[in-house]
Amino acid sequence: MYEKRILKGMEKFLISLFIVLCVVISCKKILPGAPEDATVLDGTIDGLTMEENQRFLKGDAAFTEVFTAETGLGTTFVATSCISCHAGDGKGHPSTTLTRFGQPDEFGNIFMDQGGPQLQNRALPGYMPEQIPAGATFSKFTPPANTGLGFLDFVSDADILALSDPDDLNGDGISGVPNWIVIPGYITPRPDAIVQNGKHICRFGKKGAAYNLLNQTVNAYNQDMGITSTYNPVDVYTGQEIDPEISNQKIQDVVFYLQTLKAPVARNQEDSEVKQGKALFAQINCAACHTPKLKTGFSPIKGLSYKEFSPYTDLLLHDMGPGLDDGYTEGSAKTYEWRTPALWGLGLSQSSQGGKYYLMHDGRAHSIEEAILMHGGEASGSKAMYQALSSGEKMALIKFLESL
């Protein structure tokens, strides 16, 4: 009798436990909704047609494709897919940082015959990865975000040149020069390209050494994953030309995907502290390099044509001082020069970097403030003005940067 009552009690207990569980779950949203658009980096630019959506999806699939030995990975490589390094299309993590070596000045890489410029530090099982040759200087690169690049791709050369001030005529201590490079033969220059001594203005990458997104993508397949294409058929492991391991079509789909990934959407723009920070950003001359507004010229993709946007970069190289000089460079950049990184999406960095900040070219800064304090060279004046701000003003500036 007594036992039976315990039983009934137990049964009731289990049933109520079950009901409680159900309620708990239903409170946590039974069918999880999409995170708010402004809080994520992936997604398309506005105004894509249905055909363009289809191409975007093809490129997206290629961007997430994981390569294996069977599909051409390696023999030496750095990672197995684009998405491994550009998680959620955002900035990368130190575990995906890559190393480049062998170019100590603006006159070219002297270690090309010894595996330069990029270190393939991973190898298929049974093989040995590459090592940095003795005597080669090197630099580490943490992956940047991949968002809004279509807008940057369609800024005209003339607009970029107009921002440059090589002789510092305005006397603000900030010059800014483009990276002039002889571009590979497979690249079709922009219709309005400006050419000097057979060299073009390059704009992508930390040193601004890639001309356009095709250039960047072909290099990524080849150097990061060991995947050859007709554009770059040289195998990183043997140094020999081999059969293409990926189709041109797929590469073009990825380029289209990169072009049509939306620009990060700024948040909290009406917040008074954010507004104060924005004003300070201009006042202490951050905006002299981190240009708040750029515009595109004509683009065959309607959503990118003649648009104004806010990347906070001038796409130019700046002397950042000895603290950021790794003794390695690309193209005509000096070893102490870096291309201004876009600051849009900065506040979302942590959600692709595993909850932490890894800023500057090699992720050495662990907070926005640390990043600012590492500025030197042409940015010394700007940094000094930052240091002179009150702590409230500093907070406002950082809040503004986090809102981007």
Partner: protein, 407 residues
């Protein structure tokens, strides 16, 4: 191919006879002495015998509807016929049995011989088994028939970490003995093995199930060395069954044509499984946990982990057990499954931070069993999956409704 043809022929001919007169079939009574352990699952199923023929046939079908959403994105409504499995058993002789299990998945696009073995009994404690055997690792692999479970999805740890229905060509011995309310059983096999795909695959993580996609494993061992697999299980009539299992071996191709091409690398898997039914309240608990260790070259990407663990626990509570809707012995159950898998246990060399790549999920369920052979089930799943770096997890919610039945 010929086997497949013969099999289909036999199946159709049996089926067409069934149309003629279903009384020709005789249900082979299932062993209900409760002496069954997980290792007996292959035989402990309903079979149909045709007249006086020594051949018995059985199988099950499962089908369902599902609707799931991950971070606001849905694939829409899905109707799925997940699998049709057919067993054929025969008693060749008093001490010689044959049993096979063929599974058709994805509408017949995937056909797999999951089990096809001959068992020779020398003594209850010493049986010989050879053919395509189901590797006894954990309990789910051996005891995976759809109708036995309250959940439409197989446990994630058993399909995405351990390979579910992992079978190989091999040979070995097994046996069982009992004393009063205790029972102990063992199994020991040498079988085909894993291959390089467990660390070279498009999942971008160490993934044992990748080796299932290699059909050549039934003919050839990649490393040339067998997988050793053993299990010991103890059952007490009151306390339930506890199993401990291990499988391991060298998985990669380290020599070819007499030349050494790589160093040897091992995969080792340990599992414990437990199940019991609490006598008076009839609550059933089924749990399994496994650890996977894989040697990965230090110069390979950290994406592929050297250590994994995960498992699940099912709690099933019958709430009504009586005649319902005209079924005499129908049961209505509430159930809940909790699962967790970490595919990459370790820390990043660059930062010392945890490598995530893990998942947890909770699935409450209602199941209705009109008879012993059939289950209708309604499941909801809430799942959180975190990437390698520990970025905000992908959240999934999913409803499923379906049935699974032996025939």
């Amino acid at each position: 191919m010929i086997y497949r043809f013969l099999f289909v022929y036999l199946f159709i001919s049996l089926a067409s006879q069934a149309q003629v007169d279903s009384t020709l079939f005789r249900r082979v009574p299932k062993d209900t002495t409760k002496n069954a352990m997980n290792m007996d699952a292959v035989y402990n199923r309903p079979f149909l015998a045709l007249g006086k023929s020594p051949v018995a046939i059985g199988g099950y079908l499962e089908s369902n509807w599902q609707y799931g959403v991950t971070d606001g994105i849905t694939e829409g409504h899905q109707f799925q016929a997940r699998r049709l499995t057919v067993f054929l058993a025969s008693k060749i002789n008093r001490r010689l049995k044959f049993l096979s299990e063929i599974e058709f998945e994805e509408g017949g696009r995937e056909i797999a011989i999951e089990f096809a073995s001959m068992d020779l009994e020398l003594h209850p404690l010493l049986n010989f088994r050879g053919g395509i055997v189901m590797n006894p690792i954990g309990a789910f692999n051996q005891n995976h028939d759809g109708p036995k479970w309250e959940f439409i999805d197989r446990p994630i740890s058993a399909t995405q970490m351990l390979p579910a229905t992992w079978s190989n060509t091999g040979f070995g011995i097994f046996g069982k003995t009992f004393h009063k309310s205790w029972m102990i059983g063992y199994e020991l096999y040498l079988t085909g093995n894993f291959d390089n795909s467990i660390i070279e695959n498009t999942e971008n993580k160490t993934f044992l199930p990748a080796a299932k996609r290699n059909p050549e494993r039934f003919e050839e061992i990649n490393s040339g060395l067998p997988l050793m697999n053993g299990k010991i299980a103890v059952r007490n009539r009151k306390a339930g069954e506890l199993g401990v299992s291990y499988m391991g071996g060298v998985y990669n191709k380290f020599q070819d044509d007499g030349l050494i091409i790589d160093s040897r690398r091992r995969v080792d898997v340990f599992a414990v499984d437990y199940n019991t039914t609490i006598p008076t309240i009839n609550t059933t608990i089924i749990a399994e946990w496994a650890w996977v260790f894989v040697q990965v070259p230090a110069t390979y990407t950290q994406q592929f982990g050297t250590k994994q663990y995960g498992g699940f626990i099912d709690i099933i509570q019958p709430i009504l057990s009586r005649s319902m809707l005209g079924w005499e012995k129908a049961t209505l159950n509430l159930a809940c499954r909790l699962e967790y898998v970490d595919w990459n246990v370790g820390t990043f060399t660059e930062t010392g931070d945890n490598i995530y790549e893990h998942l947890w999920s909770i699935a409450p369920a209602i199941s209705f069993r009109p008879n012993a052979q059939t289950v209708f089930r309604f499941n909801y799943r809430y799942q959180q999956q975190t990437d390698l770096l520990g970025n905000p997890p992908a959240l999934t919610g999913m409803f499923q409704l379906g049935f699974s039945t032996y025939f």
